[in-house]
């Protein structure tokens, strides 16, 4: 089992991450990747407001431990061969990549479920905070109830 966790300002390269995951073992039969991108708008109370940029803050040290804990839980639950989690911080423009989760496994069900579970936990537990810049006015993003609900799907492991 091979794990790579990174929190970085720089962009990541999906092709490199995928090649790393698929070569972990000749037993890899399934690789699932998730990439989160900055949308060009924010939905607030049903309205769509264009955004200029996002700024991502995190709690250095604690974030790394939490991501490791989330990955450890996924490894206990599914037979995985490799997991990668990358999260960017700093200023990000629309269409940029924010987050990557990649999972390699023998079979597809484990790879799909583990990737989705890691994302659901990351969204609700990892210490990142997002600020939106709209036309020079900044505000912090509110957390979403739907993310809490998504995480509860995996609650057997809590």
């Amino acid at each position: 089992m091979t794990v790579r966790i990174a929190i970085q300002r720089e962009d990541f390269n999906l092709a490199e991450e995928y090649e790393w995951l698929r070569q972990i073992s000749p037993a890899v039969g399934a690789v699932v990747t998730f990439s989160g991108l900055v949308r060009d708008f924010e939905s607030t109370d049903g309205a769509r407001n264009a955004i200029d940029s996002l700024s991502l803050q995190h709690y250095p040290g604690m974030t790394e431990s939490l991501l490791q804990e989330i990955v450890d839980q996924a490894m206990q639950r599914w037979p995985l061969l490799g997991v990668t989690v990358i999260h960017r911080v700093g200023k990000l423009l629309p269409a940029e990549q924010i987050v990557f989760v990649g999972v390699a496994s023998q079979h597809r069900a484990a790879a799909f479920e583990a990737a989705q579970c890691v994302m659901d936990y990351l969204k609700t537990r990892a210490t990142f905070w997002k600020k939106v810049d709209q036309n020079g006015r900044e505000h912090w993003v509110e957390s979403k109830d739907s993310d809490q609900v998504a995480r509860q799907r995996w609650a057997a492991d809590d």
């Binding site: 604690m62 987050v99 969204k123 912090w140 993003v141 957390s143």
Partner: protein, 79 residues
């Protein structure tokens, strides 16, 4: 002394708050801050706000050792 960290929107309202303080629990820190910074005190009392000591989420009544790092965490919004 206890080192204080404020994340997300709490960082904005804690601009002028001290970053070092003497206290025995996170709850006591919250009360001390609320006395001088009412808006910060109000936001720290919101039930979704969590507190960590040395990067572990703890209860507000966790006893603090000197040199601890206490962080106030609004709901996370990464990913």
């Amino acid at each position: 002394m206890i080192k204080l960290l404020f994340f997300g929107r709490l960082g904005d309202v804690a601009c002028d708050a001290p970053k070092l303080i003497e206290a025995n629990t996170p709850a006591e820190i919250r009360d001390l801050l609320a006395a001088d910074f009412p808006e910060l005190g109000r936001q720290l009392r919101e039930p979704q706000v969590l507190v960590s000591v040395n990067q572990m989420i703890v209860s507000w009544n966790q006893p603090l050792a000197a040199g601890s790092e206490v962080a106030f965490l609004p709901p996370v919004t990464g990913g």
